[in-house]
Symmetry: C2
Subunit: 239 residues, 2 copies
DNA sequence: AACCATAGGTGTACGCTGTACACATGTCAA
DNA sequence: TTGACATGTGTACAGCGTACACCTATGGTT
């Protein structure tokens, strides 16, 4: 008899299948639960089998980053630099929103995988095509920082408010006394102050706001013919 | 005889000593080697002893963040909002440069320790004192993001160039073919192209450049009386 | 002075992690 | 048919955070 019926001849693992399984697993159970053991189990294989395809966990994560970055759209053709870059970064953002854990992994990488360099290289090229000097482009890329990946580090996501209304009211009073300005911001635009505390922000708006402040600033410097001889107090009119 | 001579009556641990030892240990051996076991050893104590002073490792790291943030200078008095905020953030930067691992720990926190809220609250207050609306202040704080802590995520620090000149030349050629724009930036202002690849950037300059682009943008929006009813395409003149 | 509650330190043990190393198996070339 | 090579297995180890039971020294009360 054909042993393909008996033991259904498993397709052998390969690097790509391992990496895609890792992405799927992280999507499902979160990045902190992505362990070599869990991943192996999901692939129906013993942990050490993975090491035939990735050198170690670091390289696995490098590969995962490659996959995510591969989901970013190529640059739009025909748009001016500002719109093209804006669109591209927002595409990166969409990719990273599909995998919420990805920003953390990107930031943890010690050296950039090739696709990452591709992306950065192409982004730089978009500024250069817009007429930016090498120097200004350099600084502008630094200024974008991790925002070029479509995320801002959400420093301290607001914890969910306590369910008990009494506890919530008490907590609100204490916070208002201790951090009046934070409360002022958190409750802005709401008449029911207390309930608004845990309301959260429109992340997409905040992201675009910051991105546009930066892009507008870059445009202004570019138009003014900024050059790195203005190195002291770089962008400031005052000095 | 006094047993204080015989067994030199050790001073008991307390939360503060534990936290400061943790900071010192991380400074010495790096954050990845800061384990409960290593920390205990450094304090001449058994690992579990630490748990009488911090609930778990997460809370230890919270406490470590408290100490770092405590090193940030209080706001300057009498300066205008822009200079005051600039100075404060640069002070935060100095604190974080003293502990290179700290940014990573700050970003890994799930909820903000009180001193962190203090800092943010006070920074918000500085914008408000400068006449910023609640709304604009809100967005502006988001736009600063982790830069308010004085760091930009250094995405992918450049690895040191290989020692062997032949290898270096070969690598340079390959990089130049594959990532021409990156190479263009990396070698800008240098005539000896190859050797400039690993030269690195003036991080302080890059940080201040980005900070000033943002602060200048904020100032412009503020002067123009930006209000959140301009919510679509927030900062853009075009639409 | 005797007592005892309590805070602080100890020792052991468990489950989890990444991964080194030796081994088995399955597939293709000679 | 034989052997080489790629792939998957099994066992084992060191390190991690930390639960739990225990001991000990200190300080206040009787």
């Amino acid at each position: 008899m054909a042993e393909s019926a008996q033991a259904p001849r498993r397709v052998p693992l390969n690097r790509d299948r391992v990496l895609r399984a890792a992405v799927a697993l992280a999507d499902d159970v979160g990045i902190e639960a992505l362990s070599m053991r869990n991943l192996a189990e999901r692939l129906g294989v013993v942990p050490m089998a993975l090491y035939k395809h990735v050198a170690n966990k670091e390289e696995l994560l490098d590969g995962v980053v490659e996959i995510i970055v591969g989901e970013i759209d190529p640059p739009a053709q025909g748009a001016d630099w500002k719109d093209a870059i804006r669109q591209r970064i927002l595409s990166a953002r969409r990719a990273l929103l599909r995998h919420r854990w990805a920003s953390q992994v990107i930031e943890s990488r010690l050296h950039a995988p090739p696709v990452v360099l591709d992306y950065m290289n192409s982004l730089i090229g978009m500024f250069r095509a817009g007429g930016f000097s090498v120097d200004l482009t350099h600084h502008v890329m630094h200024a974008l920082g991790s925002r070029m990946w479509g995320f801002t580090q959400e420093v301290f996501p607001t914890p969910p408010p306590p369910a008990d209304p009494d506890v919530r009211a008490a907590m609100f009073g204490q916070l208002a006394a201790q951090y009046p300005y934070i409360i002022e911001i958190a409750t802005a635009g709401s008449h029911d102050e207390e309930s608004a505390v845990g309301r959260g922000c429109d992340d997409q708006f905040e992201f675009e706001f910051a991105l546009d402040v930066l892009l507008d600033g870059f445009e202004r410097l570019h138009q003014q013919g900024w050059s790195s001889t203005d190195r002291r107090r770089a962008t400031r009119a005052s000095a």
